[in-house]
C-alpha cells in the first residue's frame, strides 16, 4: 500500500476547463429558488458576489461558501460552488477547518450581524487574529432578520423592536472596530446600495491573501427599513459617504470640500479647498500603516457628526495560519522524513516476546 501524499501545492490550481474560458455571473447561479423578501438588500450583494467570482476567475470546484444561520446565511444555496450552511455563529470555525484541510480552496464566509457579532463573535475574532485565509462577508442589517425582528448587537441604541418594546439599552458594537482590534489584515466596508463600490471591494477582498473582513451595510426591508438610509441615498452620497482610497487625502462633501483631521487624537471635520488636490492639514489614507490606529479612527466615524467611511480601511500582509500550519508540516517532513508508521509504533522502549 502506498503512503498518503499530503497535497501541498504552493498556489491553487485552476481546473483546465475553467481556464479555457472566461467565467460569467451565470456560472455562479444555482437553480434554487431565492427566498429573500422582495426588496431585501441581499439580492444586490448576491449579484455582485457572483460577478466578482467570475471576474477573478475563481474556479467553481475550488470555491466554497460557508455560512451560519440567518437570512444572509442562506447565501450558499444561491451560489453554484461548494457550499456549507452550518449552524448559528460557527461559520468561521467550520471554514477554518475547511481551509486547513485543503488550503487550495478559496473559502468565503457569509454571515450576519447576529450570526457573527452575537453568538459567533468568538470565532470571528479568533479566525481574524490567526489570519486564516478566508473572505468574510458580514451582512450588517442591524437586526435579526430570520427570527423576525429582534435587535442585534449593531442595532442603534434605543431601537424599538419586538424584544425591546421600550428601546434597546445596549451600545451598538462596531464590526470594523472589532475586526481591527482582532488584527485582521484586510478590513473594508461597503454598502448594498452601491453595486460598483461593492464589486470593487469584493474584488479587493478576493485578491487578498489572509483573512479579509468586509462589512456590507444591508437593508432589511421588513424589519429595519432605512437603517442606512442616509448612506444609501444617492442624493446624499457626497455628504454622507467618505470614500477611502489608499494614499489619497481623506475628504468628502460637495466637490470634496471637507476633510478629516485629527486634533489631540480626536477626529474633526475641517473645510478644505475643493480645487486643491493635496490639501494640507487633513489626514491621508494609509491602508498599509504599521498600526491600525488610523483605520480604527476612520471606522469609528459615525453620522450625524461625521460621514460614514466606505472602502478598504486596512490591507496588510502577514503569513496566514494555513501557510504556517502547512509550513510546519513540510518542515517536519523535511527534517524527519515522511511519517513512517513502523518508526512511530516502535518509538521509545520496546521489547520482544518470543
Amino acid at each position: 500500500m502506498s503512503n498518503p501524499t499530503p497535497v501541498l501545492p504552493d498556489r491553487p490550481e485552476t481546473s483546465a476547463e475553467d481556464c479555457l474560458r472566461q467565467l460569467t455571473r451565470r456560472d455562479f447561479q444555482t437553480t434554487q429558488e431565492i427566498r429573500w423578501c422582495p426588496g431585501c438588500g441581499d439580492y444586490s450583494i448576491l449579484a455582485q458576489v457572483q460577478k466578482v467570482l467570475a471576474t477573478v476567475g475563481s474556479p467553481r470546484e475550488n470555491t466554497v461558501f460557508v455560512s451560519g444561520i440567518g437570512c444572509s446565511s442562506r447565501f450558499p444555496y444561491y451560489v453554484n460552488t461548494y457550499g456549507f450552511h452550518t449552524i448559528h455563529g460557527r461559520a468561521p470555525a467550520v471554514a477554518t477547518g475547511v481551509k486547513c484541510a485543503n488550503p487550495d480552496l478559496s473559502v468565503w464566509v457569509v454571515t450576519g450581524d447576529g450570526d457573527s457579532l452575537s453568538i459567533g463573535t468568538n470565532h470571528l475574532i479568533h479566525c481574524l487574529r490567526r489570519n486564516v485565509d478566508l473572505r468574510i462577508l458580514l451582512f450588517n442589517n442591524r437586526i435579526y432578520g430570520l427570527t423576525k425582528g429582534q435587535y442585534s448587537p449593531t442595532s442603534d441604541f434605543g431601537l424599538k423592536t419586538k424584544s425591546s418594546p421600550l428601546g434597546t439599552i445596549e451600545q451598538p458594537i462596531s464590526p470594523l472596530g472589532l475586526a481591527l482590534a482582532a488584527q485582521a489584515t484586510f478590513v473594508a466596508r461597503t454598502i448594498y446600495a452601491d453595486p460598483p463600490h461593492l464589486a470593487r471591494i469584493l474584488e479587493a477582498a478576493a485578491r487578498h491573501r489572509g483573512a479579509a473582513f468586509v462589512e456590507i451595510l444591508q437593508n432589511c426591508r421588513v424589519f429595519n427599513e432605512g437603517a442606512f438610509e442616509n448612506v444609501a441615498s444617492r442624493a446624499e452620497a457626497e455628504q454622507s459617504r467618505l470614500l477611502l482610497e489608499h494614499g489619497k487625502p481623506i475628504r468628502f462633501g460637495l466637490g470634496g470640500s471637507k476633510g478629516i483631521a485629527v486634533r489631540d487624537m480626536e477626529p474633526v471635520v475641517v473645510d478644505v479647498n475643493p480645487d486643491d488636490p493635496e490639501p494640507e492639514g487633513i489626514l491621508r489614507h494609509n491602508a498599509q500603516a504599521d498600526s491600525p490606529a488610523l483605520a480604527s479612527l476612520l471606522a469609528a466615524l459615525m453620522p450625524p457628526a461625521f460621514p460614514t467611511a466606505l472602502g478598504v480601511f486596512r490591507d496588510v500582509q502577514r503569513p496566514t495560519y494555513n501557510e504556517l500550519l502547512i509550513g510546519q508540516i513540510q518542515d517536519s517532513i523535511k527534517r524527519r522524513g515522511r511519517g513512517d508508521l513502523r518508526k512511530l509504533f516502535n518509538a521509545g522502549t520496546t521489547w520482544q516476546v518470543d
Binding site: N3, S15, V64, P76, F84, H85, A93, V98
Partner: protein, 618 residues
C-alpha cells in the same frame, strides 16, 4: 511460593506484585515508576500501571495535596488492572505515606525515607506524631532507610551541587526496589546513558544513586527476603508501553494513514484529554494538522469543516467539552460527514472532579442531542485497546459518513500497559472511494445501497459542486425541503444507516461459558477488573461469564440472546447505572446495576464480592 536462599537472604517466588512509588511532585516518582515498569516488561512480565497525580495546580512541597504516586502491577500471568492494593510502598516523605497507607495490603512492605520524617514535614502532612514511632504502622513491615543521606553520600563524587544531587534520590529508591524484585540495574543504567547523553555528570550521579540503593538493599540487614516474578506467557511479538491517551493518538494517526487522507485534529485543552492533543501535535511528519481552537464548539466545527473538505476530521475533549459540542454533533449527523469525537471522561457533573475517573457520559453520548440524531458510540476497554478503538472509530466514520463518539476515561488515559505493536503492512486498508466528475448520477444524498452512506464528494472535485447544511434535506438531491414524508424518510434512513452498522462489527462475544448463572456485562475501563474477578470466580467453579461492550451504538448482534442465556445479569459501572438502563430500554431484560461513583475504578475484590453476593441471593 518457592523459596531458595541467595546470599544469606530468602528468595520468594511470587506470581504477581503491586508496587507503589509515592513522593512529592518534585521527587520524580513518575520517572522511576515508569522505569520500573519497563524493566518488568523487558523481563517478560505483564504489566499495568496507574499514576496518581496531585490535583491540578502544583501544591506546596511536602503537603498532602502535593503527593505524586505511581503504582505498578506486574506478574507472570494476565495482569488486567494496576492492582487493588500495593504490597510494596515506597514513601519518600510523610505526606506520601499518609496518602498511600490506606491502600497498602495488610502486612505489606513500606519503605520510607526516614530522613524526611522531621517535625516540619510531619506537620505539613498533618501528622500529630511521627508514625514511624507511634506504633500506628504495626500491621506492616516498615523499613526505614536514610535515603536522603545515603543518596547524598553516593552522589558526592559527581561534582554536582547539593540540590542537583538531592534530585537523584528517586533512583536510590528504585535501586532498592530493583533488588527487592530481583531485577537487573543494567537496563536502567543504559537508559540513563541515552537520556542524559548531554549531561554526563547527571547521568553519573543518578547511576551512582541507583547502584547504591541496590547495594544497600543487598547488604543491609533490613531486607531478609526478596522476590521473583517469572515471565508471563504473552503472545509473541514486539511490545511497548502505552497509556490510553498515547494509544488514542497512535490509533488516529494510523487510521488516517490507512484512509490516505490527512488527519485534522481540532481540540481545546482539557484534563484528562489534553495529552492526545500534545501527542498529535508532535507528529507533523504524518501530515497531522492540529488546530488548538478557541473553544470546544470551534473545535468540533473545525473538525466537521475539515471532513467536509476531505480530511479525517477528529476532535477530542472531556465531559464539559463534549457538552459544548452537542449542537455541532447534530450538524454532523444531519450533513452525514465523518467525524471522530473522542471523550476522555472524568468525574462530573459540571466541573466535578477533573482529575478523577468516571464513566457517566454514556447517556450524553447516546442521547445528548436535540432531534433524532443517532450516531455511533464506541468505548475502549483498556489503555492498549484505545489503539484499535480509535482505528475503528475512523473506519466507521469514513465508511458510513457519520460522527462517532469514542469514549475513554481518566483511568484509561493515564494508566499504562503493554501494546502489541501492530505490523503497519497488515493494518486494514480504509480508503473510501470518493465520487468524481465521472461518477454516474452523482447526487449528494444518494446513498450507497449497502452502507446507506451518502457519497463523500470533496470540494475541489470538478462537477460535483453541491450545498449541504443543517436544514432537512430532500432524499437523494439534498435540496432543502420541509416536506412531511421526506422528513420521515430521512429520519428513518439516518437511523437505519447507524443500526445497520451492527452487521459490520463483531457479534457479542461472551468470555467464558455461553450460558450460566451470572453474566457480568461491562463497557469501557471496567474491563480489567471485571475480567480478573470473573477469572477468579471461574477458577473457583462459579458459572460466571463476562460480556464486554466496545460498540455501544449500535450494539453488536447477539447481545440480547447472550443476556437471556444467564440466570442473572450484573452490570458494573462507574456511574449510577446508565448501561443497565440502556440495555433494559433495548431488550426489556431484568438487569442489576452495580455502581461505583467515587472517582476511582473498581477493585477486583469489590467485583469478586459482588459476584458472590449476586450468586448467593436468589
Amino acid at each position: 511460593m518457592d523459596t531458595c536462599p541467595t546470599n544469606g537472604k530468602q528468595f520468594v517466588e511470587v506470581q504477581q506484585a503491586t508496587v507503589r512509588f509515592a513522593g512529592d511532585s518534585g521527587d520524580g516518582m513518575q520517572l522511576v515508576g515508569s522505569q520500573f515498569a519497563d524493566i518488568a516488561s523487558l523481563m517478560g512480565n505483564a504489566i499495568r500501571s496507574i499514576p496518581d497525580f496531585p490535583s491540578e495546580i502544583r501544591a506546596p512541597v511536602g503537603t498532602l495535596a502535593g503527593v505524586s504516586g505511581y503504582q505498578l502491577n506486574f506478574g507472570d500471568e494476565e495482569i488486567s488492572t494496576p492492582g487493588d492494593s500495593p504490597f510494596v510502598l515506597v514513601a519518600m516523605n510523610p505526606a506520601a505515606l499518609k496518602v498511600s497507607l490506606p491502600d497498602v495490603q495488610p502486612g505489606g512492605i513500606i519503605i520510607v525515607n526516614q530522613d524526611e520524617f522531621a517535625p516540619a514535614n510531619l506537620a505539613k502532612a498533618r501528622y500529630p506524631a511521627n508514625p514511624l514511632e507511634d506504633g500506628s504502622l504495626a500491621g506492616y513491615r516498615v523499613i526505614p532507610v536514610a535515603i536522603t543521606q545515603l543518596n547524598e553520600e553516593a552522589t558526592r563524587p559527581s561534582g554536582l551541587s547539593g540540590s542537583q544531587r538531592a534530585r537523584c534520590k528517586n533512583f536510590f529508591a528504585l535501586g532498592i526496589v530493583l533488588w527487592l524484585y530481583d531485577r537487573r540495574v543494567q537496563p536502567v543504567l543504559e537508559w540513563l546513558m541515552t537520556k542524559f547523553r548531554k549531561t554526563p555528570e547527571v547521568m553519573a550521579a543518578n547511576g551512582a544513586s541507583l547502584r547504591a540503593g541496590y547495594n544497600f538493599a543487598n547488604t543491609t540487614e533490613l531486607f531478609r527476603v526478596h522476590y521473583h516474578v517469572a515471565p508471563a506467557q504473552l503472545p509473541k511479538g514486539r511490545y511497548r508501553r502505552v497509556t490510553g491517551n498515547e494509544a488514542l493518538a497512535l490509533g488516529c494517526i494510523a487510521a488516517a494513514h490507512q484512509v490516505e487522507r490527512c488527519l485534522v485534529y481540532a481540540s481545546y485543552p482539557i484534563t484528562p484529554a489534553s495529552e492526545v492533543l500534545h501527542e498529535l501535535a508532535r507528529h507533523k511528519e504524518f501530515d497531522v494538522r492540529v488546530i488548538q481552537c478557541e473553544d470546544e464548539i470551534a473545535a468540533c466545527c473545525a473538525a466537521i469543516g475539515a471532513s467536509f473538505a476531505g480530511a479525517v476530521g477528529a476532535t477530542g475533549t472531556s465531559g464539559p467539552g463534549l457538552a459544548l459540542k452537542t449542537e455541532a454533533l447534530g450538524l454532523a449527523v444531519m450533513t452525514e460527514l465523518p467525524l471522530v469525537a473522542i471523550n476522555v471522561q472524568r468525574a462530573g457533573p459540571s466541573t466535578g472532579m477533573p482529575t478523577k475517573t468516571e464513566q457517566a457520559d454514556l447517556n450524553m453520548a447516546l442521547y445528548g442531542r436535540h432531534g433524532e440524531a443517532p450516531l455511533v458510540v464506541l468505548a475502549a476497554a483498556t489503555p492498549a485497546d484505545c489503539f484499535p478503538m480509535a482505528f475503528e472509530a475512523v473506519r466507521l466514520a469514513t465508511r458510513y459518513m457519520t460522527p462517532v463518539i469514542l469514549l475513554s476515561d481518566s483511568f484509561l488515559a493515564n494508566s499504562a500497559e503493554a501494546l502489541a505493536i501492530p505490523d503497519p503492512d497488515r493494518l486494514p486498508d480504509l480508503r473510501v472511494a470518493a465520487p468524481t466528475k465521472d461518477t454516474p448520477n452523482f447526487a449528494p444524498y444518494r446513498r450507497d445501497a449497502k452502507t446507506l452512506a451518502r457519497p463523500w464528494a470533496i470540494p475541489g472535485t470538478p462537477g460535483l459542486e453541491h450545498r449541504i447544511g443543517g436544514l432537512e434535506k430532500e432524499d437523494v438531491t439534498g435540496v432543502v425541503t420541509y416536506d412531511a414524508a421526506n422528513h420521515r424518510r430521512m429520519v428513518e434512513q439516518r437511523a437505519r444507516k447507524i443500526a445497520g452498522i451492527a452487521d459490520d462489527i463483531p457479534p457479542a462475544k461472551v468470555e467464558g461459558a455461553p450460558s450460566g448463572d451470572l453474566l457480568m456485562v461491562g463497557w469501557g475501563s471496567t474491563y480489567g477488573a471485571i475480567a480478573a474477578a470473573v477469572r477468579q470466580a471461574q477458577a473457583e467453579g462459579r458459572a460466571v461469564s463476562h460480556l464486554h461492550l466496545r460498540h455501544l451504538n449500535p450494539l453488536p448482534r447477539g447481545v440480547e440472546s447472550a443476556l437471556r442465556a444467564f440466570r442473572k445479569v450484573l452490570v458494573p459501572e462507574n456511574n449510577t447505572g446508565q448501561l443497565s438502563a440502556y440495555l433494559r430500554s433495548q431488550f426489556s431484560v431484568p438487569i442489576r446495576p452495580l455502581t461505583k461513583v467515587e472517582g476511582r475504578p473498581f477493585l477486583i475484590r469489590e467485583l469478586r464480592q459482588a459476584i458472590e453476593e449476586t450468586l448467593k441471593h436468589e
